[in-house]
């Protein structure tokens, strides 16, 4: 059976070059990067080389990169670490309503400690309201965190404008760039942000490595106390292999950015153009043009996401959904809800997230196998039956 992996927002396949670069550090080059002997030196040099490469991907200085174990840790470190660093200044945090759980839940945990939280609303396309952002920031605000782009619906935020608003009020601005990095050019100077999160497993490195870029001068209290790794900002022995893989992946992303975006964008556009011709009552979620090149997300009316996902899996196609039934917490997506999509329609959420390995044939295959699946589930659906009766 044909296998079509379209869940690249969950994890991208590691590039062979990244894996190759990692292999020595899973074998003979097992030294601890903090050791003073030669084996330690080899590990240290590899980590520092990776730091240069990750920094280059976002136009940053290498010494401003803090390696973490994943994007979630980078986001937690930013939200908790920056607010802790300015505890005496204030206790108010501003986020968008569509942040990833690793930002949203980190802020919720601050809320339990007495912080105040403001969620900036988004429009139907998932774009933040800049006026609301401006009025949300007050004298007590110590951090604004708005994601660069939302992976679930693909919407790219006006980060430069948002960061400028925060800068005018002298509030640190963090952006979660996990979904955007690798397919959208990012330059921290141009964006005007003070902190930015990355994850290796969405840029074709491996799971278990991430990074937080923190602009020099922004105060941060570490979350992991230990040795003086990562400039004393993140204790713990480095995941050398994972970091090396991330470095290689970042280097390749920077080199091939334009070609990647064009390739992914072509697949996305073919899906977005092709599917509505074959499936009625289909809604694109997210912004029609300000959109990640790899994201084609929809809500399919009258049916539920898990059923689509399971039937697609039987056809060899791997996707994800934001429906309540597919979430382990059994809650519908807060992102779709923030976009004003009715809960009923959000149950039919489906996300096709493309990767470098995908081809136009993959799109054509989905366009062939997916419409009959929708039809089959609709034939079972009491909501569809009602709709047909009411339409007459």
């Amino acid at each position: 059976m044909r296998e079509v992996y379209l869940d690249n927002y969950a994890a991208t396949p590691p590039l062979p070059e990244a894996r190759e670069a990692m292999l020595p550090f899973l074998g003979d080059s097992y030294g601890n990067a903090s050791s003073l002997h030669s084996r330690g030196d080899a590990a240290r040099e590899a980590v520092e080389e990776a730091r240069e490469k990750v920094a280059a991907l976002i136009g940053a200085n290498a010494e401003e990169i803090i390696f973490t174990s994943n994007g979630t840790e980078a986001n937690n470190l930013a939200v908790k670490g920056i607010t802790a660093g300015s505890r005496r200044k204030g206790k108010h945090v501003v986020l968008s309503a569509v942040e990833h759980f690793s930002v949203l839940h980190a802020a919720r945990s601050l809320e339990k400690q007495g912080y105040e939280l403001t969620l900036v609303p988004v429009d139907e396309y998932g774009v933040i309201d800049l006026d609301e952002l401006a009025s949300a920031i007050d004298e007590d605000t110590v951090l604004v965190s708005i994601m660069t782009a939302n992976g679930e619906v693909g919407t790219i935020q006006p980060i430069t404008e948002a960061a400028r608003i925060a800068a005018e009020k002298e509030v640190p601005f963090h952006t979660d760039a996990v979904a955007a990095a690798g397919s959208v050019p990012l330059d921290v100077g141009q964006l005007g942000v003070s902190a930015l999160s990355l994850s290796s497993d969405l840029i074709y490195g491996t799971q278990g490595a991430g990074a937080l870029w923190l602009k020099r001068g922004v105060r941060l209290i570490p979350m992991l106390d230990g040795g003086v790794q990562e400039g004393g900002r993140r204790g713990g022995t480095e995941n050398v292999a994972g970091i090396v893989g991330m470095g290689k992946a970042a280097e390749l992303a920077a080199e091939n950015m334009a070609a990647r975006s064009a390739h992914l964008g072509g697949l996305r556009d073919a899906m977005i153009a092709g599917l509505p011709d074959k499936v009625e009552h289909l809604y694109l979620t997210g912004h029609p043009t300000q959109r990640l090149p790899w994201n084609a997300s929809f809500a399919v009316e009258f049916i539920e996401g898990e059923g689509m996902l399971l039937f697609l899996d039987q056809q060899g196609v791997a996707v994800s959904s934001g429906s309540a039934c597919t979430s382990r917490a059994l809650k519908g997506s807060h992102v779709l809800s923030a976009c004003g999509i009715p809960a009923e329609r959000a149950q039919g959420s489906i996300l096709f997230s493309f990767g470098l390995q995908n081809t136009r044939d993959d799109v054509d295959y989905v366009l062939e196998v997916f419409p009959p699946i929708v039809e089959r589930l609709r034939q079972m659906s009491p909501l569809y039956a009602k709709f047909l009766k009411e339409r007459g």
Partner: protein
């Protein structure tokens, strides 16, 4: 998908008795699409008070569809009073178990069937 038993996957992939009964003797509906699962059961009852036909339509996850299918099979041929004895736990057992988090929200098939039977009984009482 590893979370479901073979029986669940079989009933999900090839659900039995999907459809509506135009002149049903009883109809029962449970759940709502907002919470994720919604089921409508239709029954046809013969002169011996047996369920000669059971059909359903379901909006929901794989478990919800499998549960509906299993309930329809279990109920067919039973008397209405026997069918009222079909419990959620029994349905889950027949399906080789359901994931814990799906036990409450998706295992509504027996409830929908019971509502259809009550609907039948109340209609009969009125006539």
């Amino acid at each position: 998908m590893a979370q479901y038993s073979d029986e669940v996957m079989d009933h999900f992939t090839n659900p039995r008795n999907v459809g509506e009964i135009e002149d049903a003797d009883g109809v029962g509906e449970v759940g709502n699409p907002v919470c994720g699962d919604m089921m409508t059961f239709y029954i046809k009852v013969d002169e011996d008070e047996r369920l000669e036909d059971v059909k359903f339509k379901t909006f929901g996850c794989g478990a919800a569809i499998a549960v509906s299918s299993m309930v329809s099979e279990m109920a067919k041929g039973k008397t209405v009073d026997e069918a009222l004895q079909i419990s959620r736990d029994e349905v889950a057992e027949e399906l080789g178990g359901l994931p814990k988090q799906k036990m409450h929200c998706s295992n509504l098939g027996a409830d929908a069937l019971h509502l259809a039977i009550e609907d039948y009984k109340s209609k009969k009482g009125q006539s």
